[in-house]
């Protein structure tokens, strides 16, 4: 996998960008999830799990208290099988919750647990392969030795040390183990943890984009559009339109879609200075819309003849 060359849009050439080649031969840009997002997702998931396990435990305790009440508070004639049943329910619930939570959700159509969904990431097979149930199982089994076993062992060791038992170097060994797996994603380019390596998966940002409005159909950019304020139609000549390239066009597009009026005024002034017009005031938006539409018409027209202008320097 190699980082894609910049063809369009901002932020394409950062370290987390990868490409995916679909079976149709189309290259799609994907972005790996950041390590902090993944850590956040894991924390949310663990919190959900721990809280629901505690909730079930409290519920079972409450039921057990009820069972004990039925015996007139004499543990001697406690109904053994009722108490035992509650114990089994708890043990099985913990097991199923622990492994099922990740497994079932990641196998679903979203490929993400609740925590991953909240931070906006999902798992995917590396390369352009299909995500399989085996891969999901493998990556989740490995999570145990990466995080939970060393954590549990550490807690046990710490409590032993608290009671002044001698734990020797074992504490440091377990800490080292924990640190090794925790830092694993920092030692490879794709941010893979051990489970991802075994399963052939990686974690990517979930694609999310809303279709924005058509700029060239509104305001002064439209086919017969004129300024609403002055009623003037802006027309730019060949020389004025050949200054800027695609990069500036797309910056202008972003500004038109979500910038504030004073920012637009600054852009307006800068463009007027560049193309040698005398900047007026009060009609910046109409001017910029018209300029955007005509610049894009020219650049796209050139594009159809195979002539591209990346930015104002080329």
């Amino acid at each position: 996998m190699s980082a894609r060359k910049t063809t369009s849009g901002p932020l394409r050439d950062d370290k987390r960008a990868r490409t995916l080649v679909t079976p149709e031969g189309l290259t799609l840009p994907i972005k790996l999830a950041s390590r902090s997002a993944r850590a956040g997702a894991l924390m949310i998931d663990v919190m959900i799990l721990v809280f629901s396990i505690i909730a079930v435990e409290l519920l079972l305790l409450w039921l057990a208290a009820g069972v004990l009440d039925g015996t007139a508070l004499d543990p001697g004639n406690l109904n053994q099988s009722a108490a035992e049943f509650l114990g089994i329910v708890l043990a099985l619930f913990v097991f199923v919750a622990w492994y099922g939570y990740f497994l079932v959700q990641e196998l679903g159509p979203r490929g993400a647990t609740l925590g991953k969904r909240i931070v906006g990431i999902r798992i995917a097979a590396r390369g352009a392969r299909r995500l399989t149930p085996e891969a999901v199982i493998a990556r989740n089994l490995l999570r145990d030795i990466e995080i939970f076993y060393p954590l549990v062992t550490l807690v046990v060791l710490l409590s032993m040390a608290g009671r002044e038992d001698d734990i020797g170097v074992l504490g440091w060994v377990v800490t080292g183990w924990f640190a090794l797996f925790l830092l694993f994603p920092f030692f490879n380019r794709d941010g893979l943890r051990a489970g991802d390596i075994i399963a052939g998966t990686w974690v990517v940002e979930r694609p999310r984009a809303k279709l924005a409005a058509v700029l060239s159909a509104q305001g002064a950019a439209a086919a017969a559009g004129a300024s609403e304020v002055t009623g003037v139609r802006y027309d730019f000549g060949e020389a004025e339109l050949s200054i800027y390239g695609e990069k500036e066009l797309q910056t202008l597009e972003r500004m038109l879609r979500d910038a504030q009026p004073d920012a637009l005024a600054a852009v307006h002034a800068a463009i007027c200075r560049k193309i040698g017009w005398n900047p007026g005031a009060g009609d910046e938006r109409a001017f910029l819309e018209a300029f955007y539409a005509q610049l894009r018409a020219k650049l796209e027209g050139d594009m159809r003849f195979g002539k591209r202008k990346a930015d104002k320097f080329s």
Binding site: L26, Q80, A138, M303
Partner: protein
């Protein structure tokens, strides 16, 4: 940064009507307006699929999905060559990627996968690991012998292997009656189900550990096997001293044939990954590890099932059946069932089955 996702949970369904095509000044925008309806339909189908699986999708939408995906993909490649509208390009890239995840996503849910797994996927995966199983078996036998020899040479090793000590009758120097007593059943069925549930979480934890440690080139998996089997060897030595080997073997065999088989398989699965990483052959290391990981994950799901069976056997028949012969019959039957399931049960692999070890 993208907008927080919370907003997308509420602002759904408000779709503005697209402006009319003639009003667009640019050819590329007219191209977009002509196809926008299909993109939005695809987006809508995808949103419903992501929310609730396939059941909520009408049949004709499901049939249209691949065609809509290809339309969006070809729109994207045309737009890349003709349009400079960054927002539309970003939208199309995200849309095609989302559709790709669904069209080429996991083909089966968990339940369907589980059915394919029981109907042949499991035994195929086990057979694919035959070499690792042989190695793990050898290591386990060696571990038992080592445990025996260690304790036979120096009894102090016994206390090192079983540090609990206090209250347990099974210590060197115990009389024949005490040992025999420890093999007999407990008072009754009380507490056995809870015991089974506990045994199960404990044993499957050990197995998952043996598997996951395979990541360090398989060596910790083998060490874990040796350690567990050394305990068995020491126990065998202890009972042999009082001429109780047969009784111990019967007592162990009830659940042991299933449990030790499960431990054998998880050790082999760990070793399989370790071997794939140490000797990747012609594949890149990551590819090789991933292929081995997927194969052994299938085996591991099976091991968890075996642990459930073993825990039930350990809690009920072993504690309730006292006769040596009957214990051997139960254990032997389980062994024969497992062996014939893994070796003789060979249904044809369904075409393109994701459960088969070769797929993917």
């Amino acid at each position: 940064m993208k907008a927080p996702i919370i907003s997308s949970w509420f602002g759904r369904g408000a779709v503005a009507t697209p402006p009319d095509i003639e009003s667009a000044a640019l050819r590329s925008d007219r191209f977009r307006l002509e196809r926008e309806g299909e993109w939005r339909r695809l987006e809508d189908i995808l949103a419903r699929m992501e929310r609730g699986g396939l059941k909520r999708i009408a049949d004709d939408d499901l049939v249209a999905l691949p065609a809509l995906y290809r339309t969006a993909a070809s729109s994207l490649s045309v737009a890349r060559e003709t349009s400079l509208d960054a927002a539309t390009l970003a939208y199309l890239e995200a849309l095609v990627q989302r559709a790709w995840f669904q069209v080429y996503g996991p083909r089966q849910g968990f339940v369907r996968w589980l059915r394919g797994f029981l109907m042949g996927g499991w035994s195929r995966a086990v057979r694919a690991l035959w070499l690792d199983i042989c190695i793990a078996l050898f290591v386990m036998v060696a571990g038992t012998v080592v445990g025996w020899l260690l304790v036979a040479r120096d009894e102090a090793w016994y206390y090192r292997l079983f540090p609990a000590g206090g209250g347990d009758a099974r210590v060197p120097g115990a009389t024949r009656e005490q040992l025999l007593e420890s093999l007999s059943h407990d008072e009754g069925a009380y507490g056995l189900a809870g015991f089974a549930a506990q045994l199960f979480s404990n044993n499957s934890g050990v197995c998952i550990l043996a598997f996951a440690l395979g990541f360090a080139f398989g060596i910790p998996s083998l060490l874990l096997l040796v350690h567990n089997m050394a305990l068995l060897g020491a126990l065998l030595w202890l009972f042999n001293g009082q001429g109780l080997t047969v009784e111990l073997a019967a007592w162990l065999s009830v659940h042991g044939t299933t449990e030790l088989f499960g431990i054998l398989l998880s050790g082999a699965a760990g070793l399989h990954i370790g071997r794939a990483m140490a000797f990747p052959g012609k594949l890149p290391v990551l590819e090789s590890a991933a292929a081995a990981g997927r194969r052994s994950a299938v085996v591991m799901v099976g091991v968890v099932i075996m642990m459930i069976v073993a825990a039930l056997l350990e809690a009920f028949p072993r504690q309730l059946v006292e006769d040596t012969g009957s214990r051997f019959i139960i254990g032997g039957t389980m062994l024969i069932i497992w062996l014939s399931y893994f070796i003789l049960y060979r249904p044809a692999a369904p075409l393109g089955d994701a459960g088969s070890p070769e797929a993917g």
